[in-house]
């Protein structure tokens, strides 16, 4: 199949030659209220454009309900997009069916889930959990155990022979997450989605896992999508950052530039919300946006952030802001910059 190049001129932050390209991607869940009533749509991902190149880490940041997990799952086609384009390595995967995807796509993408207590099968040994993807993708029997051992060593579960016969309940949270990472990398994927891989872990264990993810990313030169609600954990290995709010992209740019000088009021509030270890913190309240993210079945008109925004103007309530470039490489959807 000839490589397909999308016209992405309406989204200049997207590089069309990247490994993963999403253009105006849309995933609406349909919810039936009753047998004969019309379905209502929950717009979890609503026209998001972004790209992830080989060797690049893109951090996707947002609150619960912002659509970040749905976006991650759509990009590896665990969900079928309801609109827009999705290109992987020059091929259109937006509407391919499962049998087609299984031929080439599935082994090249993988995911690390948030909760290591429920993402590992409790009745399967660690050895089998890691061997299963190799069996499915036809790796010869003689090679499998060697690769399982190597994968365990790479995630520093050593010596590997101590772990292959253990079951998930015998491991700590950090160790389980290492197994999940080993499982995600055992087929040498080109694109890895890490969905809040450290949010269920103790702070003291997070750094170990983040360090490990960084090593994995370097070793495989994979494209990496790191989904989180906590920007401070993304800092250590992200190149670019995409901020999501209520199913929409609200800011995109190089990580350091965005964090240093956040343009969108939502990004500013997200960064303000992160505590720093400073005893003076207790003397002042934080200036964060009050309230909760909106219901995605019936989002607010205009800019979806306007009910919580300290700078909301009349225009924000009426019209949806387009993405504009505020600094080289930094794009944001906010009427303040128009």
């Amino acid at each position: 199949m000839a490589a397909k190049m999308l016209d992405v001129s309406d989204a200049p932050w997207v590089r069309a030659d990247s490994l993963v390209v999403a253009h105006r991607l849309r995933l609406w869940y349909s919810v039936k209220r009753g047998l004969f009533s019309k379905p209502i749509y929950v717009k979890a991902v609503d026209g998001v454009s972004l790209s992830v190149a080989r060797g690049e880490t893109l951090a996707v940041v947002g609150e619960s309900g912002s659509g970040k997990t749905t976006l991650g799952r759509t990009l590896i086609r665990l969900l079928r997009p309801t609109g827009g384009d999705l290109i992987f390595d020059g091929r259109d995967v937006a509407s391919s069916d499962e049998s087609e995807l299984r031929k080439w796509f599935r082994r090249r993408v993988s995911i690390v889930f948030q909760d290591p207590y429920s993402s590992l099968h409790p009745y399967h040994s660690i050895g089998f959990i890691l061997e299963e993807p190799l069996i499915i993708h036809g790796v010869p029997k003689g090679e499998r155990m060697e690769r399982v051992y190597k994968a365990l060593e790479e995630v520093k579960l050593t010596p590997p022979e101590d772990f292959v016969n253990k079951y998930p309940h015998m491991l700590s949270g950090g160790q389980r997450q290492r197994v999940a990472i080993a499982r995600a990398t055992i087929l040498n994927p080109d694109f890895i989605v890490a969905d809040e891989p450290v949010s269920m872990l103790d702070v003291s264990v997070r750094v170990e896992i983040l360090t490990l993810l960084k090593e994995v990313q370097k070793r495989y030169n994979a494209a990496f999508l790191y989904i989180t609600h906590d920007i401070s954990t993304a800092k250590y290995f992200s190149d670019n950052i995409a901020i999501m709010y209520a199913g929409k992209l609200v800011e995109y740019g190089p990580f350091r530039s965005v964090v240093k000088e956040p343009a969108h009021p939502y990004t500013q509030a997200l960064i303000e919300a992160i505590p720093d270890p400073d005893p003076k913190n207790r003397l002042r309240p934080r200036k964060v946006a009050p309230g909760e993210p909106p219901n995605l079945a019936n989002p607010p008109s205009g800019c979806r952030f306007h009910p919580r925004c300290p700078f909301a103007m009349d225009k924000c309530r009426r019209e949806e802001p387009p993405m504009v470039e505020v600094r080289p490489g930094v794009y944001t959807a906010c009427w303040l910059y128009k």
Binding site: E63, R206, V207, L210, S232, P279, N281, R286
Partner: protein
């Protein structure tokens, strides 16, 4: 005035594998109006400490020992009946870990809030009014009493359980990981609420968390726990400015920060088993000082360190249980 004085508190559980020493000799004082953050990894005994102070430990407990003085009166060994009527919830309230998920899904918020009051003889109308006042003071509308838990978001449910805890105007409020399941923005809103409630209602907090950065949002003092013991305790200024115990130093170095650039480090190894903890200092198998300095061999791995006072301290005595400060 000292509100809470915990002396040599021990709490052991009987398990099939042996005696689990969840708390093993914890002592500290808490002034009225002070906020103490208790920080530690999973399995350090911080939640057990909360359960011991409110006397709601599990049934397989095999030993409860030590003394807890609340407003000058010993409460750990007073008759359960009296503790239940006079102390628990009336003077010492708790927001247990993940309690927002323990709200009864088929009963309205109002009904579950007033249940303990009605049982203790408050008329229903009066109790309902108290519940509404309490909801208002945590920033929720009064009509939340008529709603069911599934109609509320995570942040709102967390506000409801805080409202339940402060309804009887307790003096001491124990918060066990009150924001651990919430995302950063909701977490910051809840922390703002806790700051505001503390100032308005003159509350004393024990704030339990595994996150030192979050602890700094509220804490006047910080206690770091490791394997059932206090490793270090001191004022926030001392603890964040000059952490003394190698474990505290390790925790500080492993915190991701957004605004400052630093190289992250982590403490290798895992929290030890509380059934058969290491001899001597419980941290010595993971301690970088012990690994480096040969002079500590035979000391740290043999004798348990007492709490040494570090000078100069500010605010409250700065104590570290580490042989480095002999």
């Amino acid at each position: 005035m000292v509100l809470l004085d915990v002396r040599n508190l021990r709490l052991y559980y009987q398990t099939t594998k042996g005696i689990l020493k969840a708390l093993d000799g914890v002592s500290f004082e808490l002034e009225e109006g002070e906020t103490l953050a208790v920080v530690g990894e999973t399995g350090s005994g911080k939640s057990t400490l909360a359960k011991a102070i409110t006397r709601v430990w599990e049934r397989n407990v095999s030993l409860v020992d030590g003394e807890i003085y609340f407003e000058g009166e010993e409460v750990l060994h007073m008759p359960e009946d009296r503790f239940r009527r006079e102390i628990r919830w009336r003077k010492i309230a708790m927001v247990p870990q993940a309690s927002m998920n323990a709200l009864n899904p088929v009963i309205t918020i109002g009904e579950q809030m007033i249940e303990p009051l009605v049982l203790s003889g408050v008329p229903k109308g009066e109790a309902l009014r108290l519940a509404q006042d309490s909801l208002e003071s945590v920033g929720l509308p009064r009509d939340v009493v008529a709603r069911y838990p599934h109609q509320l978001s995570g942040g709102m449910k967390q506000r409801v359980v805080i409202a339940m805890a402060i309804m009887t105007r307790p003096k001491l409020l124990i918060l066990d990981e009150p924001t651990s399941a919430l995302d950063v923005m909701t977490q910051a809103n809840i922390m703002n609420l806790l700051k505001e409630l503390k100032a308005r209602l003159k509350l004393t907090y024990i704030f339990i968390t595994h996150d030192l950065a979050l602890a700094s949002e509220l804490a006047d003092s910080v206690a770091v726990m490791y394997a059932g013991k206090l490793a270090e305790i001191g004022s926030s200024e001392d603890m964040y400015g000059a952490p003394a115990h190698p474990y505290t130093q390790g925790l500080m170095a492993s915190m991701p920060t957004l605004r400052t650039d630093k190289q992250l480090a982590y403490i290798p190894g895992e929290v030890p088993s509380l059934i058969d903890p290491p001899r001597g200092c419980r941290f010595h198998p993971r301690c970088p000082y012990f690994a480096k300095d040969k002079a500590l061999k035979g000391l740290c791995d043999d004798m348990e360190p007492p709490a040494f006072e570090l000078k100069p301290w500010t605010g409250r005595r700065h104590l570290a249980a580490c042989w480095l400060y002999k």
